[in-house]
Amino acid sequence: MRNTIALLLLSLFVGASVPALAAGPEDLVKAMASEVTASVRSLPPASNGVNPQLTAIIERELVPRFDFGRISQIAMGRNWLKASPSEQKQITTEFSHLLIRTYSNAINNLRDMDVAVRSTRSNGSDSDVTVRTQMVGRGSPTSIDYSLSNATGSWKVYDVQVEGISLVAAYRDEFTALVSSDGVPGVIAALKKKNTK
């Protein structure tokens, strides 16, 4: 709590444009979630399907704050090491495209929601935390928990759990099956096929 107040004071001092680098994980999550909801709200009510404007919001607000390399590594699990560096790179590229599309479809549901940060817990070290938030609006609140790591000098998200569901964990299940049937190239082929649909 004291830290939060200190940070708030600091941010007042430094001015409104504290770079994301200096921000703690809670502030980063809060800023990201409120910017995304505000941007979605400014759009006309969208129809279903891929909406370029929603994708633009994701590209602008989420992508710089997500560590897609780490996300791909988690989704591959043990099989990450079976992939060559160039295969790892391909998986990261294709998988981030798929995730961006998925998040673009999902954020339209956050239109009438506001973010409330509930708590932050450490995942065993100071540089790995989970920030638990709730999206509140009409109906029952939706919990969204962000896991972030500071391994590279700035806080980056490597997992998102919506109501306890991690998409990355769901993909890990898919990737594991693909590797055991068609090897690492099977994962790349399936991702490419999905992305061109």
């Binding site: 279903n48 590594q73 988690i74 699990g77 043990r78 798929l98 599309r101 998925t102 479809n105 999902a106 339209n108 549901n109 817990r121 995942n123 065993g124 790995d128 989970t130 109906g139 029952s140 609140p141 896991s147 490597y158 997992d159 759990q161 109501e163 306890g164 569901i165 991690s166 998409l167 990355v168 964990a169 769901a170 993909y171 890990r172 299940d173 898919e174 594991t176 099956a177 693909l178 399936a190 991702l191 999905k194």
Partner: protein
């Protein structure tokens, strides 16, 4: 719409007699594990996968031919406030079961919240048509008999895909059976009973469209993806209940 409640206590009694009395003390919650990457690959128990995949395909076809057109008519013929009212009426009945289950899980405060919601919404909310309790700050709860069984230490058992009803586990199918046995609608005449159940099914499915679209557009293997999301969700509900959140 009047629902006969005379069979309810009997049905409840029978349900719990069937369960026996093995109300184990809830196990100590596992210490908060580090995030996803540190966990071992989750063991998914799906010995009936070939059969489940068959039922899954049947359900997809059933949705395409029946559920989707009915959903389309429902959402286009009835304006949003009417549909919300319908959802609230079913939700009000559901709150009774959420309360019962919170009670069975030893979460008295939450049960109190749920039953207050029922009282307020049934009276001030005109028979549950309006969810005034939410506006008063009494948030809607979550949970069912399957969660309660999980809190009591019953494992999920094999993953099952039920015809029309969809994804489940053995434990959650037992939970669903308890719900059906204790639901007053079960004991109505067949036509009102099936109509009410069907109406709730269509309503619930119409509110899940966004999730269903997301699964279709994101999954590489829809069966496997759905299974993972469902099992994760059930685990999350149960561990939250165990930790008293």
């Amino acid at each position: 719409m009047t629902l006969s409640l005379k069979h309810l206590p009997l049905a409840l009694l029978v349900s719990f007699a069937l369960l026996g009395a093995p109300v184990q003390a809830a196990k100590k919650p596992a210490p908060a594990t580090a995030a996803a990457q540190a966990e071992p690959e989750p063991a998914i128990l799906d010995p009936f996968e070939p059969l489940n995949r068959g039922v899954f395909m049947f359900n997809e076809a059933f949705d395409a031919v029946i559920t989707t057109p009915v959903k389309f008519l429902y959402t286009n013929l009835l304006p949003e406030p009417v549909r919300r009212g319908i959802g609230n009426v079913f939700g009000n009945l559901d709150d009774v079961y959420i309360g019962v289950n919170h009670g069975l899980q030893g979460r008295g405060n939450l049960a109190g919240n749920d039953f207050s919601r029922v009282l307020i919404n049934t009276s001030l909310g005109l028979g549950g048509l309006f969810d005034v309790a939410s506006d008063m700050g009494l948030a809607k709860g979550k949970g069912d008999y399957g969660v309660t069984l999980g809190v009591w230490g019953v494992g999920p058992g094999p993953y099952l895909v039920l015809p029309v009803l969809g994804v489940s586990t053995l434990r959650d199918t037992v939970g669903r059976g308890l719900r059906i046995a204790s639901d007053p609608r079960t004991y109505l005449e067949p036509i009102p009973s099936y109509s009410l159940t069907g109406a709730e099914y269509v309503h619930v499915r119409s509110t899940n469209s966004a999730t269903e679209d997301l699964i279709s557009s994101s999954s590489l293997d829809k069966y496997r993806f759905t299974r993972s999301l469902f099992l994760q969700r059930r685990d999350a509900l149960i561990s939250a209940a165990k930790q008293g959140n």
